[in-house]
Symmetry: C2
DNA sequence: GATATTTTTTGACCTAAATCAAAAAGTGAG
DNA sequence: CTCACTTTTTGATTTAGGTCAAAAAATATC
């Protein structure tokens, strides 16, 4: 769903609002494997996934670790860069061909100023992200590799069809070999 | 620091604003071990810690697990209850004698309506929480028990002085025995 | 369509940390 | 001050899952 339609599914927008939003956001296209945002940058951009799968990732001890998978109709922004003026640890990569809409945080502020009712939507998006983080934390903490995989199968079966095993393994906090063994149970 | 002073450290408030805030919030006192919010309730309350240490916790397979430690000048609200109308998994307990200020989410909305400049502060508090969660996640993921303890010693040495070993162990995602062994290294 | 590259699976081995159990130390109440 | 209870430490044993290595399968490239 396009960004404007997503917003309209929560609040009503006038035609002028839509024009304003369109003039403050950019549609972008990426190919599988493309890096949309590199780690260690101070990017101020918010990305809305219109179609396709992506992932947030970071590097640790030379290893590439998946932080989150993103699917259509979801947002991602580098909290450390936007709110704490630090280079973000988290990069963004296309898992497959991807359509998205991007805008700078400063443009979000302009849009919120013009369309104050959007503020609640933004608040809700932040809450969603907190819930996602909490749920994932809950999933990992004191849970066996098998249980983690089961939970993922139950909650996000679709993701498994769109991304590589290695990405899923690091997302679940286990090695690729362990995940492979679990799958052939 | 009292709530009003905390807010004043970010934005200016008129005397009337202060009165309005005071009439929409409640000061509370708890003793060590008191449960401030039980898990599995749909509490709509936000708590601001004025003085003392507290912890968020949840139960899993009969085990009590610390989710987060809270110290003075920090907020906590049950995101799942407030934003998703679900019973929250997370309880809140005093680690020691505690002074706090509580208010319902609906009162926050009233305060935001009257003092719109507070909205940015609230947004920042959500961002802080996201950062905290992310950092903790980063700390746990693929990190040895020893490394986790070291990070904690570095980042929150004060907390270790105020809470029991068992609470710290579950916070770090390790058993109490392992933590004890690490400490006597 | 053959070759190169990446991804996934399989195997053997090893280690960090869990589990179970019990002793020791610390804290509190009457 | 003593008895009860809680928290922390120590010990012995087990195991899930990591590591290293190489084969097999899948995918991409020319």
């Amino acid at each position: 769903m396009e960004l404007v339609n997503y917003i309209k599914s929560h609040i009503s927008l006038t035609d002028e609002d839509v024009l304003f939003i369109n003039s403050h956001t950019q549609k972008e296209f990426y190919h599988k494997g493309d890096i949309i945002r590199a780690p260690h940058t101070k990017s101020q951009k918010i990305h809305y996934i219109h179609k396709g799968y992506a992932r947030n990732f970071y590097e640790k001890n030379g290893k590439d670790i998946t932080y989150f998978f993103l699917k259509d109709n979801s947002f991602t922004l580098p909290v450390d860069a936007v709110y704490f003026n630090a280079p973000t640890k988290y990069g963004l990569q296309a898992e497959e061909d991807l359509q998205l809409t991007s805008f700078k945080y400063s443009d979000l502020l302009l849009m919120l100023e013009r369309i104050p009712r959007m503020a609640h939507l933004y608040e809700l998006e932040m809450a969603k992200f907190i819930k996602q983080l909490s749920d994932k934390y809950y999933l990992i903490q004191f849970q066996s590799a098998q249980d983690r995989y089961n939970s993922m199968m139950e909650k996000y079966p679709d993701i498994l069809l769109h991304v590589s095993l290695g990405h899923v393994a690091s997302y679940l906090g286990i090695t690729q070999e362990t995940l492979s063994r679990i799958r052939t149970k």
